[in-house]
Every structure is written in C-alpha cells, then in structure tokens.
Amino acid sequence: MIDAPFIVEVRNVKKSFKDVHAVKGVSLSIKPGEFVALLGPNGAGKTTLVEMVEGIQNPDEGEIFISGLQWKNNQHELHQLIGLSLQETRFMDKLTAYETMRLFASFYKLDAHRVDEVFALIGLEDKKKAFVDNLSGGQRQRLALGVALLNKPQILLLDEPTTGLDPNARREIWNILLGLKKSQNTSLILTSHYMEEAEYLCDRIIIMDQGTILAQGTLAEILALGGGHRSLDELFISLTGRHLYE
C-alpha cells in the first residue's frame, strides 16, 4: 500500500450475532475526501458495518484497512484519525455541554481553545452552559457531532446524524460537513434514511439490505440500473420486491 488511493478499505467483511447474519460479506473502498452514504431499511446491517470500521466491533471474517492500518495493532493511531457519532449515545446528564466537550477534548490532549472553535462550528455557543439533560434532541445530536469533530478527523463516521432533526437543522449540519470536505478534505461514511440527504451530501450512495450491498454509485447511476427508475424506492422494489420504506 505505497500510495494508497483509498483511505478506507473494507474487504469481504462478515459479522453474525448468534443466528443473525448482520453483515454477509461486504467490500467497499473510500477515497480521501469522498462522502459515502449507506442507505437501507432497519436491520440492513448499516450500524454493524460502520461499527466494525470504527473498531467497536470485530468482524468474524474479512479485513478492514484505514489509511493502511488495521485495528488490531494500531488502535491509538486510528483513534486519532477518525471521528464518529454513534446511532444513540447519551452523554452524562449532569454535565453541561461545555464540560462534556472539554472532557472529550482532553482525550485528544486538546484545550479549551479547540472546544470554543468546535462550539462555533456547530452553532451551539448559546447552549454551552446548559446541562445535557436540558438540551433538545437536535441540540444533543449537534453536541455529538461536535464531539466527533474535535480532533479534526480525516475520516468521519456518522450513524444517522440527522435523524429527528427539523429540515433547517438538517441543512445546517449538511453545510458544516460540506465545509469540512472543502477545508480539510475529510472523508465521510454516513448512514441515513433520507434520500435527499444522501443526494445532497454524498458522492456515492450504497444501498444495503440484509447484510449485503445491493447497489452503489451516484444517485443517477443507481437509478439507471435495471432500465431506469424514478426513485430509490422503485429501484429497491425491483431489486428485492419490497419497499425501501413501508
């Protein structure tokens, strides 16, 4: 991997929980600065796949390289390289947003200065002193995004970062992420249930179902598959016989 063209490489990864085959042999590669969306119905295996890339879960089979490194021997370097938000994390209720951010900043040996920068970036400055307990759902998701951005990660892995947000808040987050792409050439893997999010934000859309990749490409490429469809839902029906979302 001398001049690795890919910053993330997933090779034939499988993961089962008892008799549930959550991820059944998935491969994908992501270039620096590329934004990729994972779309698929509940239980498709999106979270499981992303968490394996994040080093939180171990694949049963297959390999994952991030910037040419594997989790087994390079945890410290990889933790510095990635930023993530989980599908559902609740921070400590009795800490303020600012204290929460300071805590996570300290894990990266970052000081108050960087914390202030991130608060400005995510537009949550007026809630610095609010207890996490008292933040709205959307504000908590912004806080989680802020925590993910602290270390200026090269690779962002966001699991449904905008679920439950109002359209304005969602658009604001998209613009923050596009800004990072421009300024820092950040790569992004994002899971989502919103087609317009994938379309607006991502260079490539990967459609997952039952632990496998059904289709991938730009929105236009995917819709052109199998003779042209008007929507992802139509495509999904033609591939699986089921609606993408009921």
Partner: protein, 371 residues
C-alpha cells in the same frame, strides 16, 4: 497545552465529581442519612449517666392526721414542691447527681403508674416508717429503692458523703456510640463505592457512553481510576462530616493514630472500589446490577458488626466473618478509635484490604465489557 486542567484524568475526575454533587439525593444519602442514623441509634442505645428515680407515695391514715412522718419532714426540708409532687436532688460529684421524683397519689393510682412504668417504687408512708413496694428483679427499681430508703433515713448527707471512697473510672470508647461510629464509617465506604461506582459504570454502559468514550484515545484505566478517585474524595468528605458530628454531639474521639486511620480508610476504599468494578464489569442492566450489589452489600451489613458485635455468632461463623472486608474495616477503625490502635494494630488489615481491591480491580478490568 499540557496544563493539568487539560489532562484526561483530571477531566474525568472533575466530570464524575460534578455528576456526584449535582445529584441532590447524594447529599441526603451520603451526608445527612448517616448522621441521622448515628444520632438516632446513638441516643437510643447510650445510657444516661445520672439516676432519675420516680416514686409514688401513698399516705396512710396515720400520716394524714397532721403529724409529719420522717419522710415528709425530709421532703419538706429538701424537696422542691410542685402540686402534689416533690423533687429531691442528691448531689455527688463523683457518682453524678441523683434525682428522686416523688408523686403523692392514691393507692390504686400508684399501682396503675407502676404498671405503666411511670414509677418504679411505691412507698406506703406511715409514722412508724415506710413500706417499700417494688420489683426486686429490676435493677432500676432496686437502685431507686436504695436511694429513697437512704434519703428517708439519712437525708441528703449520706449520698453526698459516698464520694470519699470512690475513684471514678471513665472508660473512653466503651459506650455504644463509640462502637457505632467506626462501624458507620466503614459501612459508608462500602455503600458509596458499591452503589456509586457500580451504578455509574452500568449507567454509562447502558447509555452506550462507555463505547463512545473508548472510541477515542482515552486510556481505559483512566476512566476507572477517575471514578475511584472522585468517589474517594467524596467518601472522605462524608466521613469527616460524620466524624465531626459524632465528636461534637457525642464526644467521640480518635484515641489512636490518625495516620493509621487514614491508611485503613484508603485501604477500605481500594477494597470496595475493586469490588465495585468487578460487580459492574459486564452487565448493562440496572436490575441485574441492583441484584448483584445487594447480594454483596446486604450480608455484610447484617453480619459484619456495624451495629452489633458479630461475636454473638457461633465460633465457626466468626472465624469467617472477621475476614469479610467490612468487618476488617469496622474492627480496624474501632481499634484505632477506642483502643488507641496504631499502624502495628491495623497494617495487616490494610494490606489484605488493598490486595482484595487490587485483585478484584484486575479481574474486573480483564473481564470488562466496554462495548
């Protein structure tokens, strides 16, 4: 950049400390409740030193005719009369003052008062000398009778004179509160560590906060050490407050070595912190956690002699109980508080407790479920 306030261990400790003190229930259960318990039990089980005898007087026909009996002469001279009762105070510096409270009443009422425990002796007053009725198997009644009979015969002088032959032996540390306070201090450590540390870990795991935190360059041991450290300082503050209360209110003192006390206190914290980490090393369910914490904490609370000595258990049981962590802490504290104990007396306990803590910590961390 490398200011201490940016260090992850510092931040973790501060965060957990904030979590603890921002929970109002913590102040109640950690600070106020132990003090209330010490106060209630300390009062209930600590004997008052002075004697306070309550006596009913029934006047017979021979005294009602106007001539004073010897007893009434004495009461009129030495007692404070209020309605139909007389209060006589017998003074004695070394024995402590004794108070005799006489109630003049009818015969039937006197027996009613006796049955209710409001008087312990009934005197049938007569010019030919009084008759005393009381239960001879009651130590209180016997003492009241002796004082009352002595007063009738000799007035107040006799009791006051007794002091010449008495050398008061005040045994510090032999009251029930002296036994109780060290036990409560030990119990505080156990409860705070097991509930505080275990609960925080289980809660963070179930919120998926643990997995979020370890998906950073944070050192895993720092997270646990921070929980233990914040908890230690909280426990120290709680212990000091309880001690100050006991010192001011009950005059409980530390007769032995304060540094040995601190050593044992730290060892106790290490022991129960380790146990707490082991308890919470795997589960994400607070019900399971509850059950496990109760299973560890409740037996020790009952058998380890916090409230009453475990030496009433059979010998084979005692040989086990005395090595339970809480027993070692409570016994060690008592040795230092009440028997003037020093390092020599408690270093073994401290070493065992610290080893228990370190080994449970290591096993806990090896089996720990972060995700």
């Amino acid at each position: 950049m490398n200011k201490i306030t940016n260090h992850q261990l510092y931040r973790l400790v501060v965060a957990h400390f904030a979590e603890i003190i921002r929970e109002p229930a913590v102040i109640f259960w950690g600070v106020i409740f132990p003090i209330l318990m010490a106060w209630g039990l300390g009062i209930a089980f600590t004997q008052k030193t002075g004697v306070h005898a309550k006596i009913a007087i029934v006047r017979t026909e021979q005294t009602i005719d106007g001539r004073k009996s010897k007893l009434f002469a004495g009461l009129t001279e030495n007692g404070i009369k209020k309605d139909s009762s007389y209060l006589v105070t017998l003074k004695n510096e070394k024995l402590g003052d004794a108070q005799l409270n006489y109630f003049e009443t009818s015969s039937s009422n006197a027996y009613r008062l006796l049955k209710k425990g409001k008087v312990s002796v009934i005197i049938e007053d007569s010019n030919r000398g009084s008759k005393y009725s009381f239960d001879p198997s009651s130590q209180d009644a016997k003492a009241a009778y002796q004082l009352a009979a002595d007063f009738e015969q000799n007035g107040t002088k006799s009791y006051a004179k007794m002091q010449e032959s008495i050398v008061p032996l005040t045994l510090k540390g032999s009251r029930y509160v002296d036994f109780l306070i060290p036990g409560l201090l030990g119990m505080g450590i156990m409860m705070a560590c097991c509930w505080g540390i275990s609960y925080t870990i289980i809660d963070r795991r179930s919120k998926k906060l643990l997995r979020r935190m370890v998906a950073t360059p944070m050192r895993k041991t720092n997270l646990l050490i921070a929980l233990i450290t914040a908890r230690f300082f909280m426990n120290l503050a709680e212990a000091i407050l309880l001690f100050i209360f006991a010192w001011i209110y009950f005059d409980v003192t530390i007769q032995g070595s304060v540094s040995a006390l601190i050593l044992l206190f730290m060892a106790g914290n290490i022991a129960f912190s380790g146990i707490a980490i082991l308890i919470s090393s795997r589960t994400a369910s607070s019900e399971v956690g509850n059950g496990m914490i109760n299973a560890i904490v409740t037996p020790m609370m009952v058998v380890s002699g916090v409230f009453f000595s475990y030496h009433n258990f059979p010998d084979w049981a005692v040989s086990v109980i005395q090595y339970l962590p809480l027993s070692m802490i409570a016994d060690g504290f008592r040795t230092i508080f009440n028997e003037g104990g020093t390092f020599v007396d408690v270093w073994r306990e401290a070493v065992i407790l610290a080893s228990v803590g370190v080994s449970t910590f290591v096993i806990g961390i090896k089996t720990f479920k972060w995700y």
